[in-house]
């Protein structure tokens, strides 16, 4: 059974679409990796598989071994000694070389012929695919397996939970992180997701409120473009842990879409830490060099995720 050497399985859920589940899954994976854990990410969003795009490995292909599919590697483990690129020269790391665990991922996105192909499947086919992803991928030995889900509570979720409850042990099932935005229509969908977890016996690790405010880089005024405060109120009402609020950071979007290291206007301080400033314009090559996980440490969201993951780890591995 391919999940037997996975220590902890975490689901990332949301009743609502577009709140940033894939974004949060990616960042949780990168942050866990930066803490030295070996991480796998399974993307079960069959009709909108975004995870390969987030990790910048869209054009990779999945390799097959006699026992099943080999997950596509994002980066190998790095234990603190100097890293070299292919020809043995010290790789340009943008000054950000960090210790990190290995990271690999699996998604339907790798198996599609054309990125723009619509995957128009009815329930039974989706159910079968989810089961196959869980049983036929050779994850090997992992500290954490994160599972990114589509919005809602449909076939993918039901078959996911069913299969996991059968194939994984109770100790392996760490639980679910639920993502929402502050607005009312997100909150109302997320309440359903919480009740879904309760009905199916999935432990809720906490609620993350995403896109909570946009800080204008020009004048620092914070505008609540998607309303305010709903996540925390809901978490209290439902008695689930509230893990934190994340603002909209266009630099993160830029990191994912263009591969450029985040830079912030002079004087930006987040959580007591001065952020990298753009005192001089870096060349394109310098801006995009380095692994995603290393560039991510310059992002303003990283300290927030670091805090949340520390919280999570203390709950999962007390």
């Amino acid at each position: 059974m391919s999940l037997k050497d996975v220590k902890h399985i975490v689901l990332v859920l949301s009743g609502k679409g577009g709140v940033g589940k894939s974004s949060v899954t990616t960042q949780l994976a990168l942050t866990l990796s930066l803490k030295g854990h070996s991480v796998g990410v399974l993307d079960v969003d069959l009709t909108g598989p975004s995870i390969p795009r987030f990790f910048g490995i869209e054009n990779e292909k999945v390799r097959q071994a006699p026992g099943g599919w080999i997950p596509v590697p994002v980066h190998a483990a790095q234990n603190g000694h100097g890293r070299t690129n292919g020809n043995g020269d010290a790789a340009h790391t943008n000054g950000l070389a960090k210790v990190h665990g290995s990271l690999a991922c699996m998604s339907l996105g790798f198996l599609l012929g054309d990125r723009g192909d619509a995957v128009v499947w009815r329930g039974p086919k989706k159910t079968a695919m989810v089961r196959q992803f869980l049983s036929d991928v050779l994850w090997g030995s992992l500290d954490y397996l994160l599972i990114d889900t589509p919005p809602g509570t449909s076939d993918e979720h039901i078959s996911l939970v069913e299969t996991l409850l059968k194939e994984a042990t109770l100790e392996q099932m760490a639980g679910a992180v639920i993502v929402t935005t502050p607005q009312a229509i997100s909150i109302s969908d997320v309440k359903k997701e919480i009740n879904f977890c309760r009905k199916t016996g999935v432990n809720i690790l906490g609620v993350i409120e995403n896109m909570a405010g946009f800080v204008c880089p020009n004048c620092s005024e914070c505008t609540n473009v998607f309303s305010k405060g709903g996540g925390q109120v809901m978490a209290q009402e439902f008695d689930v842990p509230f893990m934190g609020s994340l603002p909209i950071d266009p630099m993160f979007i830029r990191l994912i879409e263009e591969g450029k290291k985040p830079v912030y206007p002079e004087g930006t301080v987040i959580d007591g830490q001065a952020m990298q400033t753009n005192g001089h314009a870096d060349s394109d090559e310098a801006e995009t060099a380095g692994l995603l996980v290393e560039k991510y440490t310059a992002c303003s969201l990283y300290p927030l995720f670091d805090g949340m993951v520390t919280q999570l780890l203390s709950k999962i591995e007390p």
């Binding site: 609502k16 679409g17 128009v120 329930g123 449909s154 997701e193 946009f214 979007i253």
Partner: protein
């Protein structure tokens, strides 16, 4: 009074003669409804429901008799957006659901039939049945236009709808972000595969203007949808900027077109409705 159950009591299975040789459902018209337009996007959270509701309200202001059908079974947003949360529809003498009314718009959603916090953890077949009921067992008055607020994804709901009724066209909503566009393109692909005309795309959450200093920020990227439209050869029907009030008003159950009818955001939605109306030939 207990809410009407979604299945058996109201559901009348269609007789065998209505399916064609391959066992696929035949397309049927919806009684009393003129044209049907789907507001869709394979991507979640781009603003389909917000755009659909504001479009319907703009249509009402133009004098079009309008209805909106919320086809998102798992996350119905229409009750919240129209301030109809917790309301239950009555049945007409033929046991069909009577739509609720808000701001001059007739509305139906599964959100009216199921307690608000209950998850709808249904597999595909039940979703299909519920969808059929929402499509054919609602007693609409005479409507010029019915707008369908579609759920994200490209699965059972989308297939059932496109196989069961004749759509005048589909409007695809997206934010300028590359990630959203990649899924929106699948939405376009889906409709092309099933032969539904694409009326065009809407660029939502385009530019954010800081209310304090007036600086423009393209938070989700610049003009991504416009460029994609050029690439795919489809119309850009409209552009809606990102403004905190749109969400704030939607949350309060009084969408932009009603809450701030003379503002620039409402104008953007009205322009959008005019463009849609022109494309499908509505007065």
């Amino acid at each position: 009074m207990a809410p009407p159950s979604v299945l058996p009591a109201c559901f009348t299975p269609r007789p065998a003669t209505e399916t064609n040789v391959l066992g696929l459902p035949e397309k049927r018209p919806i009684t009393n409804v003129g044209k049907v337009v789907a507001v869709s996007s394979a991507k979640g959270g781009v603003g389909k429901s917000t755009v659909a509701v504001n479009l319907a309200l703009a249509a009402a202001r133009q004098g079009i008799t309008i209805g909106i059908l919320d086809t998102d079974i798992y996350g119905p947003s229409i009750p919240t957006l129209l301030n109809l949360e917790g309301m239950e529809p009555d049945l007409d003498p033929n046991n069909r659901l009577l739509p609720l009314t808000a701001y001059g718009v007739k509305a139906m959603s599964i959100g009216f039939l199921i307690p608000q916090d209950s998850p709808v953890a249904w597999r595909g077949l039940m979703v299909q049945k519920a969808m059929n009921q929402l499509l054919f067992e609602v007693s609409w008055p005479k409507l010029d236009l019915l707008i369908l607020d579609m759920p994200p994804g490209t699965g059972d709901v989308q297939l059932t709808i496109t196989q069961s009724i004749e759509l005048a066209g589909a409007v695809i909503v997206s934010t300028p972000q590359d990630l959203a566009l990649r899924d929106a393109v699948r939405g376009v692909d889906l409709f092309k595969k099933v032969g539904v005309p694409i009326l065009g795309m809407v660029q939502n959450m385009s530019t954010f203007t800081c209310t304090n200093c007036g600086h423009h920020h393209d938070i989700f990227g610049l003009d991504g949808v416009r460029k994609k439209c050029d690439e795919l050869g489809i119309n850009l029907l409209g552009d809606v900027p990102l403004h905190a009030r749109i969400c704030h008003d939607a949350d309060a159950g009084k969408p932009t077109v009603v809450a701030d009818p003379d503002g620039p955001q409402a104008q953007a939605f009205r322009d959008l409705m005019e463009a849609v109306g022109e494309t499908i030939g509505l007065p």
